[in-house]
């Protein structure tokens, strides 16, 4: 009897739960409907007079990186009382989330994006405004007011995105290691940059085995290295610097053929691989987000020098040791690759003018001064590099900006920088899907760069679809 009662209770409880859930669901549906109606009403009001509009913006980043955007939005809303900005912070799997949003027609007005992921697939389907139209007529922000290589174009004249700031590569080093060994530290001026051979020679002197012998001495034991001369990431951002420096490229000038198997590129790749496998001055390749990171590797003297993006400055500034920045060694000409994210405005936005104003506000360096000072970011506006007072704001007297910074990073960016391959090589990801596995063999010393690139040249060629920076 009691058993039966209990069953009854359980089932009533279940029914109750299901009905509450369902009724709650239908309720929310009706509120949704109300919202839609409300929205329509307000836009109708807008037609009548003052219009209150909402702009939606999606970004990723750590809390400290999102903070500047929140400040910008606050200021922006105060200046434009009729505009409300909705900031949507997507913590991870950004592209997956944005893709489902596009699939569901729930598209933001402005999105931050990575050039190597879904920005171009979206742009190819005509999803973005051509920002060239704005740049051409805007008096505050145009191409000459921005530092080089931070805009992305689908084809010449069709700008799909503008970066909030550039990032370049440089040679970070531990000053104490150089002092202890009595070796001249890396130059910071591009005009005085080390040649590749000089660089290799220094790296060898800096590489010590457990008996204290360096890599130039007889009896050096490459199996028991205590301190490496150099840490060299092996992702495309890193090696592209040297391919460009050596006059090579990922695809040919006309965009018609695969070019990583050409002499200039092959030589650069081979020389980098030799650092690992022939000279034993650089540890075996690890992932792009390598652990331990540059600051720890340098601080603990596991490595003496490290090639990394300038964003490493932030973590280095927080570590307690004397680090400095030198210019990258040169193969034929000084060169660095500029990598950066971008802001784009979706075509579906009903308020492109206002969205453009917001993009401008987001890019304005003053708003992100904390990130600039911390060392993570660099400003997008050219006058923040050329105007002494503005430059001092983010480079003077800061732990993140040591003495070599202005020459090795700022001067190189302004005068010797190259656009990231993701910005002009069509179908870049698919080409790299073929190239990366072959390069893994090169970094591991199993094949020469020439062999590896030749072996996949035909397959890579199938994926070559042209360049975005030339008219087809």
């Amino acid at each position: 009897m009691t058993g039966q009662k209990k069953i009854a209770t359980v089932f009533i409880l279940m029914l109750f739960l299901i009905t509450t859930v369902l009724s709650a669901c239908s309720k929310s549906e009706s509120t949704n409907g109300n919202e839609a109606a409300g929205g329509a009403a307000s836009s109708a009001d807008g037609n009548a007079g003052k219009e209150t509009i909402t702009l939606r913006l999606t970004v990723w980043g750590a809390p400290e990186e999102v903070e500047p955007y929140k400040n910008v939005i606050q200021k922006f809303e105060a200046e434009h009382t009729n505009i409300k900005v909705e900031l949507q912070h997507i913590a991870a799997d950004y592209d997956t989330k944005l893709t489902t949003m596009v699939a569901g027609n729930d598209v933001p007005d402005i999105a931050m994006m990575e050039s190597g992921s879904i920005a171009y697939p979206l742009a190819e389907q005509g999803k973005f405004y051509n920002l060239q139209d704005f740049l051409a007529t805007d008096s505050d922000m145009n191409e000459s007011s921005l530092v080089p290589n931070i805009t992305y174009s689908l084809e010449p004249g069709n700008v799909i995105g503008i970066a909030p700031g550039p990032e370049t590569f440089a040679l970070f080093y531990n000053e104490d290691v150089f002092k202890e060994l009595g070796i001249e530290p890396p130059p910071s001026k591009a005009s005085e940059a080390w040649s590749w051979d000089q660089f290799v020679e220094v790296a060898k002197q800096l590489t010590l085995d457990k008996n204290g012998k360096n890599a130039t001495e007889d009896g050096f034991d490459p199996k028991n290295i205590k301190q490496y001369g150099l840490n060299l990431p092996t992702w495309w951002g890193s090696y592209s610097n040297f391919i460009y420096s050596n006059g090579g490229d990922f695809v040919s000038q006309d965009g018609q053929s695969f070019a990583l198997n050409q002499p200039e590129a092959v030589e650069a790749l081979q020389k980098m691989a030799d650092l690992i496998n022939v000279h034993h001055v650089s540890p075996s390749p690890v992932q792009a987000k390598n652990i331990p990171s540059t600051n720890v590797a340098l601080q603990t003297k596991k490595v003496a020098m490290a090639i990394d993006g300038q964003w490493a400055s932030s973590a280095l500034a927080q570590s307690n040791f004397n680090f400095n920045i030198g210019v990258l060694p040169v193969m034929k000409q000084p060169m660095t690759t500029v990598v950066c994210a971008m802001f784009s405005i979706f075509k579906s936005s009903k308020h492109p003018e206002e969205a453009w104003e917001l993009v401008k506000a987001l890019i304005e360096p003053e708003a992100s001064i904390d990130m600039l000072k911390a060392g993570t970011w660099m400003p997008a506006a050219r006058d923040w590099y050329t105007d002494e007072a503005l430059l001092a704001k983010w480079t003077e007297g800061l732990a993140s900006r040591p003495s070599g910074y202005k020459d090795a990073v700022i001067d190189v960016l302004l005068n010797h920088s190259h656009q990231t391959p993701t910005g002009y090589v069509k179908n870049f990801n698919k080409i790299m899907d073929v190239v990366n596995p072959a390069l893994d063999k090169v970094w591991l010393g199993k094949e020469s760069a020439q062999e590896a690139m030749d072996s996949i040249a035909a397959k890579a060629q199938e994926q070559v679809k042209g360049r975005r920076d030339i008219a087809n």
């Binding site: 596009v102 879904i118 290295i225 652990i291 596991k302 990801n429 893994d440 063999k441």
Partner: protein, 295 residues
């Protein structure tokens, strides 16, 4: 029998209705999409018949066969390792020792550590030059390995990192073990049998339904391995950890070729279905259900 059908459907109706509402629709949708050139960003989608499947099997797509091979290697290595190790640990944890609760918690802990944190821990531990594991090996003058960074050792290394998270499987085994009545063991003891005959004649048959469950779930889970490639290896080095579902995800989301990715998914579906079916079929000969006395 008629009554049985009514009550059977009644009891299972929430699950059946749930399947039809929440699962069947998306499944059919992806099946249909596998015959199209669907890309999320394109406004136009057209039917292309079996073209996606033809591309897959024609050998035009080298990553298809490569990722299939990598995944099978992983599954062949991982499934026995997970089942044997977790069964062994469950037996240990089922002993009547002091501090059992603590031991159980320790074994279970790793499976609740967020994936980002545990991936980061493993990358650090397995770093060839600077990581802790190689440092320890060096200390004992044992041969070192490049772990996740060499072609030969990447799959075994990934298997190793996943073994850290077998807590769930262990717990299921434990629940199975706890259901074995003590009297059965006592009967063996009376007959003078030792631990082996207890294991062979009582424990294994009695937990065979649990072994069966864990085997099926481990197979299904291992074939769909994704996170390890996504967070740890990105498919490298030299595509030696290009797991099938990672490749599928890359195709569908990064390259936005969702139609083709759907075709990839349905091929995998058939493969998983096949293996599950095989295990179900063989189960009749080795899984013992006390509740199925009636034949």
């Amino acid at each position: 029998m008629r009554k049985g059908l009514f009550y059977g459907l009644l009891f299972t109706s929430p699950a059946i209705i749930g399947f039809i509402i929440f699962t069947l629709g998306p499944m059919i949708a992806s099946m249909v999409l596998s015959f199209t050139d669907y890309s999320v960003f394109k406004d136009q989608t057209s039917f292309i018949g079996f073209d996606n499947y033809k591309t897959l099997f024609s050998g035009e797509d080298e990553f298809f066969y490569k990722s299939l091979g990598v995944t099978f290697y992983f599954v062949a290595l991982r499934v026995p390792a997970v089942i044997l190790l977790s069964f062994f640990i469950a037996l240990l944890l089922n002993m009547n020792v002091k501090g059992r609760a603590i031991f159980r918690t320790i074994i279970y802990l790793p499976s609740i550590v967020p994936a980002v944190a545990s991936a980061m821990i493993w990358m650090w531990l397995l770093n060839p030059d600077l990581g802790l594991v190689n440092s320890v090996l060096r200390w004992f003058h044992l041969p070192e390995s490049d772990w996740l960074y060499s072609e030969q050792s990447v799959i075994p290394s990934v298997v190793l990192t996943t073994l850290w998270g077998i807590g769930g499987t262990v717990i299921i085994f434990l629940a199975g073990l706890s259901g074995i009545p003590r009297q059965y063991y006592e009967a063996i003891e009376v007959d003078g049998g030792g631990w082996y005959s207890k294991l062979r004649h009582i424990t294994i048959p009695m937990v065979s339904p649990t072994i069966f469950f864990n085997t099926i779930m481990t197979i299904i889970g291992s074939i769909q391995v994704f996170n390890e490639a996504y967070i740890l290896t990105q498919g490298g080095p030299n595509n030696k950890s290009l797991f099938y579902v990672f490749y599928l995800w890359r195709t569908g989301f990064r390259d936005t070729e969702m139609g083709y990715a759907s075709a990839l998914a349905w091929v995998l579906f058939i493969i998983i279905l096949f293996f599950t079916f095989i295990v179900f079929r063989t189960s009749k000969s080795w899984v013992y259900y006390e509740g199925e006395g009636r034949t």
